[in-house]
Symmetry: C2
Amino acid sequence: MAATAAAALTPATPLRFKPYSTLRFLSFYSKNPISPRLFPPLPRRPVSFHSTIPRKRCFCSVISAALQSGEMKKTEFPEKKVGEMGNTVGEFRKKLKIADIKGGPDEGLNRVGQTVVVMGWVRTLRVQSSVTFLEVNDGSSLSNMQCVMNSDAEGYDQVESGLIATSASIWVQGTLVASQGSKQKVELKVEKVVVVGKSDPSYPIQKKRVSREFLRTKAHLRPRTNTFGAVARVRNALAYATHKFFQENGFVWISSPIITASDCEGAGEQFCVTTLIPSSREAADSPVDAIPNTKNGLIDWSQDFFGKPAFLTVSGQLNAETYATALSDVYTFGPTFRAENSNTSRHLAEFWMIEPELAFADLDDDMACATAYLQYVVRHVLDNCKEDMEFFNTWIEKGVIDRLNDVAEKDFVQLTYTDAIGLLLKAKKKFEFPVLLVYFLFKPT
Amino acid sequence: MAATAAAALTPATPLRFKPYSTLRFLSFYSKNPISPRLFPPLPRRPVSFHSTIPRKRCFCSVISAALQSGEMKKTEFPEKKVGEMGNTVGEFRKKLKIADIKGGPDEGLNRVGQTVVVMGWVRTLRVQSSVTFLEVNDGSSLSNMQCVMNSDAEGYDQVESGLIATSASIWVQGTLVASQGSKQKVELKVEKVVVVGKSDPSYPIQKKRVSREFLRTKAHLRPRTNTFGAVARVRNALAYATHKFFQENGFVWISSPIITASDCEGAGEQFCVTTLIPSSREAADSPVDAIPNTKNGLIDWSQDFFGKPAFLTVSGQLNAETYATALSDVYTFGPTFRAENSNTSRHLAEFWMIEPELAFADLDDDMACATAYLQYVVRHVLDNCKEDMEFFNTWIEKGVIDRLNDVAEKDFVQLTYTDAIGLLLKAKKKFEFPVLLVYFLFKPT
């Protein structure tokens, strides 16, 4: 578990994501005082055993070299009692985030007068004659913390020198005060600001709106946008609500195998998983005839990792069923794969799927479970992601909150296939495929 | 979401896991009255669009055939209002499970006198002169519900005819009474029993202990054993506690990509994911020269699914870092893959990994988070899986509960590398690799 430093990534420099690379990057660029508690010197990573010492005889040469050099004798391991060594690992405390401050029923007014620290990324900076406004976002919520700064605040020189710019990561200490603005109830009167990672004017996501196609080319930075941040928070809420619903109802989560030799109900084309083709570092130039083959030119699966063809799962149902007939009610929630080459929003090569399996249940129980689940997760998101849902309602899909409220509150109806077709025929809507055609194709026999 | 019927699988018959296959199997074998509420007739599944109608022109032929046959004109869609169609989907109710009955502080005594229904699988059957004891397990807990049956109970003839045997799935209604036995506080005085799925004496997991190697050959039945049931419940508790810990501490769950073109910190060999090799149905006989190649005999990756080589992820860290530098604290929890061909208990080809990424954190915060997480999940399992942990403590690893209590309650200490080696040198234990050798190989420089 590596602590990721909150570095502001300068896009012009190529990024290498290796252990501590963000930190290295940071310490190279930062010329500003950094709180010593924040970033103590990092220990070097021990070298990988596998990469440097592939064979047993190496052990001996390392040891004998150490012995000959006398280094081993020099090493002293002082006689300490256990109690004399090291310190107790510190207590883990939940960080105070902007959502914690502004998310309460009084939107932070209960904390007015408190000294708090906010750590996050600068969204905008407005320098006015007497005062500077910094909008800081820490990803815990869509809305920022407005930080108000006078020229006597410690670290104000970093505003003047341009170090504090959009997307710089900063540490701000100040006092919460009631805000004069209409957009928020509280704001932070800054006492001290520290630039943790600087940014510069070439940062590609400035205040103006950018297209999702453009953001696709900046995949490492798009989580900092309103849309992707909101999607991440809502997706997280949906996933957690899924676990909560099933756990509260006595289901057991099953991690069904991802690599499998089974197909399942012909759900779709499968990806092959193999080591017969060289790994990433050499794959680009791999000759076909390097793939092991039998005398008659067939692929020699006996030389593959599992000794036979293996595939990515298209469904965990097969495995979940064996557990449902032992544990009563189970669910899977994991990634699933389809190698269907249709580029639509409804066909994904990789997606996370929930597959509940109920024992001693009939189709009525099944429908009751499915609708209860849907209503539970929709209600959870409407209650816990209000700000994000309002953002979607305004900018992405008008009316989505009303529609989801309907799903969460109205009764679901079960009706016959013929009645469903009848409803569609009466609907004043043009469908891509004629309803009667669909009726004949899918009619239960 | 298909409801899985609780069929007792007769092992001599080959199993085909297709939709409703367990149910079909069941209805074929069962000659006993089955509660009509339990298993109403199932609707036929609509045929798969893809498998039967691959091309657009088929639409027309289906429609025109229907028109010519006059079938289309015959179809009537009665004019109903929405309110007249169908019924409201029923309420989803959490099933009363054996764990709910016996899991409370008074182990079920508070429910004495209640009429309850238990659905599960027969573990053992003891027919005595005046009374029959049935041990029924529903997978919600390790311990069974002891069901006591007189010959006047409805359905008792199924005991006499041998239908109720080990692993048969049954539905039992009765009254909870205080138990005379020392092993449980309550038992069920049976009023009615229904065999949902029968079993027979060839069922391979009878009362005597069987080896895990043997169970490996009965993978579809081993979830019904004590060991695999306990493992599933503890694994489920660990997974849920993992989500709870991070969610309660403001982390956002990120589902990092499983299929990826990135390597990550050289963590291990990668599996290649490809569609250049035919899918499961034809893979066994695939000729090497059917793999697309370029003029100079290299694999033509442009014809692969993603147009370039793709692999299974060895770590979600790269992606989690981009989200941590936007949302502050995130974690991944998903499957990870290593194609290292070493068959040890520490090298798995597929495993679920948790990767927290903390922004604005240093190594001390990192250690505090790691130890708090460990203590949280260990405490959660000790509190919520008592019976299963006692089973492990008795049968799998003596002392495991004491050891885990230590982990959950004692302070973690951080110490220097040299102090750690000093401790190991003093330990009266023979290690596979000499401690001094390890010291020189991994010594921080």
